[in-house]
């Protein structure tokens, strides 16, 4: 079986992350319950005529994919695999709103066409003229992890040599309002620095696109090696610590072999317990990192975690802002990522310096 490498990254997030020459050099401190992304200049990547027709998610996805391809020094790839938890929300809201408001009359097809979950993947393929394998995963907080799992399967078995993967989700105003009503989004504005101490229900939501070129050939630009990934629909009767242990066992690693854990805490008092169990238990002597105070929560926010871990492994720098504790500041080799959303769809991802 071949080894799988992350050969390039691109993050469009609520921090200024799209420029790969920087690494969280300046932090934007948000104070809200819904935070916007820092947009790159889309004109640099998408023609104005195309851009006008594209919803935010498509725009972010296409731009991020182009930056990632450039970072990997490629013009195209063998396959494109996209993950999106909520799909093209804005166009769905637009079409549905018009349908109800106008009693099923005077509708135009544009927003319907763009509302399908695979719009981003399709538009990237169209843009790159890539006729290869093209999948879109839409399974809540493991939508992005499913793209990693699929790409890894293909690359290990040499069914492809370069694959573009990415996680993308956009904010839909009305959907955000609804998620606030049911307390999935925090009722009150919460600041970046106080997220984990908020002791309130729900998360601070955002949007973003994190894209990567994976390959079974290492190159000078390579960031990390993907050792393993596992997703779990539920915990069953087990505790998350038990699952973490058996995941490490399956990969012949013990706790000491993990130089850093990257945790998906989002400040939701009801569900952060899963992370706290690991940070105060199994990994209490391990360097701990978190990131959703920077990028917000969305169904593919864990792809920002992979971006962060990749940057740490390549640069060997650990930005102060992401530290949960202070145990290690150099020589990062093996990083374990853990994420879940509302107690379901848990995932472990294991990256190694290459």
């Amino acid at each position: 079986m071949k080894t799988v490498y992350i050969n390039s990254v691109c993050s469009i997030s609520s921090q200024k992350t799209f420029d790969n020459s920087e690494f969280l050099d300046e932090i934007i401190y948000h104070e809200d319950n819904l935070i916007p992304v820092v947009n790159p200049n889309y004109k640099d990547y998408i023609s104005p005529s195309e851009s006008r027709r594209m919803a935010k998610g498509v725009k972010m996805g296409v731009a991020a994919s182009k930056i990632a391809l450039k970072d990997a020094n490629l013009d195209t790839v063998d396959a494109i695999i996209t993950g999106t938890g909520m799909g093209c929300l804005r166009d769905s809201e637009k079409f549905l709103g018009a349908l109800i408001d106008n009693d099923e009359q005077f509708l135009t097809p544009t927003s319907f066409i763009q509302s399908t979950h695979n719009t981003v993947g399709g538009q990237i393929a169209l843009n790159l003229q890539c006729k290869g394998y093209n999948f879109t995963y839409v399974h809540s907080s493991i939508s992005f992890e499913s793209t990693v799992l699929d790409a890894k399967l293909m690359l290990e078995n040499n069914e492809a040599n370069t694959i573009l993967i990415g996680g993308v989700d956009e904010i839909g105003d009305y959907t955000a309002k609804l998620h606030q009503i049911i307390n999935h989004i925090k009722a009150e504005k919460t600041s970046t620095s106080e997220l984990l101490n908020s002791k309130t229900e729900g998360a601070v939501f955002s949007e973003g696109a994190n894209f990567f070129v994976l390959s079974n050939e290492k190159q000078t630009s390579s960031y990390a090696e993907i050792i393993a990934i596992s997703t779990y629909n539920t915990l069953g009767n087990s505790k998350i610590s038990d699952l973490a242990k058996s995941f490490l066992d399956e990969n012949n690693l013990d706790i000491d072999a993990i130089d850093m854990v990257v945790l998906g805490n989002n400040g939701d008092v009801t569900f952060d317990g899963f992370y706290n169990e690991l940070s105060s238990g199994l990994f209490k002597n391990t360097q701990q990192v978190y990131y959703k105070h920077l990028c917000g929560e969305f169904m593919t926010a864990s792809s920002f975690g992979v971006w962060l871990a990749s940057k740490i492994l390549k640069t060997q720098k650990l930005p102060e802002i992401v530290k949960l504790n202070n145990l290690k500041d150099s020589n990062f080799k093996t990083i374990l990522l853990y994420n879940q959303y509302r107690g379901e769809n848990h995932s472990f991802t294991l990256l190694r310096k290459c």
Binding site: I113, T116, K131, N134, Y137, I142, L149, L153, T231, N233
Partner: protein
């Protein structure tokens, strides 16, 4: 590594039957499920025909023994019914005695509930339970729960009308690679105002019975359905001494990279998908005994698919037909519905008629199979194409 990918069980609910047996009986007798719409209040009810499932949501809820507190979308109801039949058919009593996953496909997800309560959500607390049921992964999580699948690989694919074919493909790859011993694969989509109006704006809905590959075809009929297959590794089949219904022999996926909703004139993506599937199956075109075509009866699809079939099979076109005239186009579920029909065709050595065909298309001279026919079957190809240029082909065979 597992060499073979065995199909050991299947379940289905569609406009032509509530289980595998009823679906097959309708296919044999030429009994279409297309009718006027009755369960959704829509302005278009007199100008469209659909493939609707007879049961109301309440009846489905009762069949599943769910309390009225549930927040199931119709997609989830249909998905659970079909997935449970598949598990039963495969003779599985303990789902967790092998490493078991679930890959489901949907495009509509919980949209039927969202469109029913969209503005009420803000004011009516009793409807708010459906808000978190909107996203596409929700029905999959519910199916996993109902089947007792825990701590497992459970995910959802949404590549428009090719979704379920891709779920089958991923499942087959996970079995082959040894990552899973058993995986339930398929898809579910219910009818919704959202899709009815969406396809209406694209002007590809027929006002009468859809007629695939006919010169005067007027477009598609939307349908609702769910179907699931149980795929198992050689190891499970051997140690449980399981009867095998058929094998997933090959699969291909390509992108047309032509237009967000239209297929390229010469069917580039479709051609690539079929060629790739033959390559994975290590078969040549002459080995295919029947093609269950995507055949949606839109002007664009049938022309593009027909040309792609000609490109792949040249002068030796196998028998082919589309079963969309029976079920309507069931969107993300279509690939799984037609997988069940393909397996039934292999088991019973039959070919289903392409209903409602009257006039030969002028662009080419290939004609679908028009009558129900008995014929020794060994290898069947099934096509599924979708918006976003997503093209998928699966090959099913009797023998490993």
């Amino acid at each position: 590594m597992s060499k073979g990918v065995a199909i050991t069980g299947m379940g289905i609910i569609s406009a032509i039957g509530n289980n595998v047996e009823e679906n097959y009986a309708s296919l044999v007798t030429g009994n279409t499920g297309i009718s006027k719409i009755s369960k959704i209040e829509t302005n278009h009810k007199d100008s469209i025909m659909v493939g609707e499932i007879g049961f109301t949501n309440q009846e489905l809820e009762q069949q599943l023994g769910l309390s009225s507190e549930n927040n199931y979308s119709r997609t989830a109801f249909l998905g659970v019914i079909a997935a449970k039949e598949a598990i039963k058919n495969a003779g599985i009593s303990d789902i967790n005695n092998y490493k078991t996953g679930l890959i489901s496909a949907t495009s509509v997800g919980g949209m039927d509930r969202t469109e029913a309560h969209y503005y009420d959500y803000a004011v009516d607390k009793s409807t708010q339970k459906y808000i978190e049921g909107h996203h596409a992964g929700d029905s999959t999580q519910k199916i996993a729960e109902q089947l007792g699948i825990k701590q497992s690989l459970v995910t959802t694919i949404s590549t428009a009308c090719s979704s379920a074919a891709n779920a089958i493909m991923l499942g087959a790859r996970l079995i082959k690679s040894g990552q899973l011993d058993r995986v339930i694969v398929g898809g579910a989509d219910c009818l919704s105002k959202f899709t009815i109006n969406g396809f209406k704006t694209l002007m590809i809905l027929s006002d009468t019975y859809n007629s695939p590959f006919d010169e005067h075809r007027k477009g598609l009929n939307l349908g609702e359905a769910a179907a699931y297959l149980v795929l198992e590794s050689d190891k499970v089949v051997l140690s449980e001494n399981k009867p095998v219904l058929a094998y997933v022999k090959g699969y291909g996926n390509a992108n047309d990279a032509y237009h967000q909703t239209a297929s390229s004139e010469n069917g580039d993506g479709a051609t690539l998908a079929m060629q790739q599937a033959l390559k994975v199956a290590e078969l040549s075109p002459k080995d295919i005994s029947y093609i269950n075509a995507h055949g949606t009866a839109t002007g664009n699809n049938d022309l593009s698919e027909g040309r792609a079939i000609l490109r792949v099979f040249e002068n030796d076109i196998p028998d082919f037909s589309s079963t969309k005239a029976f079920t309507g186009h069931t969107l993300a579920a279509a690939g799984a519905i037609e997988a069940v029909y393909s397996v039934l065709a292999l088991q019973n050595n039959v070919i289903y008629p392409n209903l409602n065909f009257k006039t030969q298309m002028k662009e080419f001279n290939i004609t679908p199979q028009l009558e129900f026919k008995e014929k020794e079957q060994h290898t069947i190809m099934s096509n599924s194409f979708g918006f976003g240029g997503n093209c998928s082909t699966i090959i099913f065979s009797k023998k490993q």
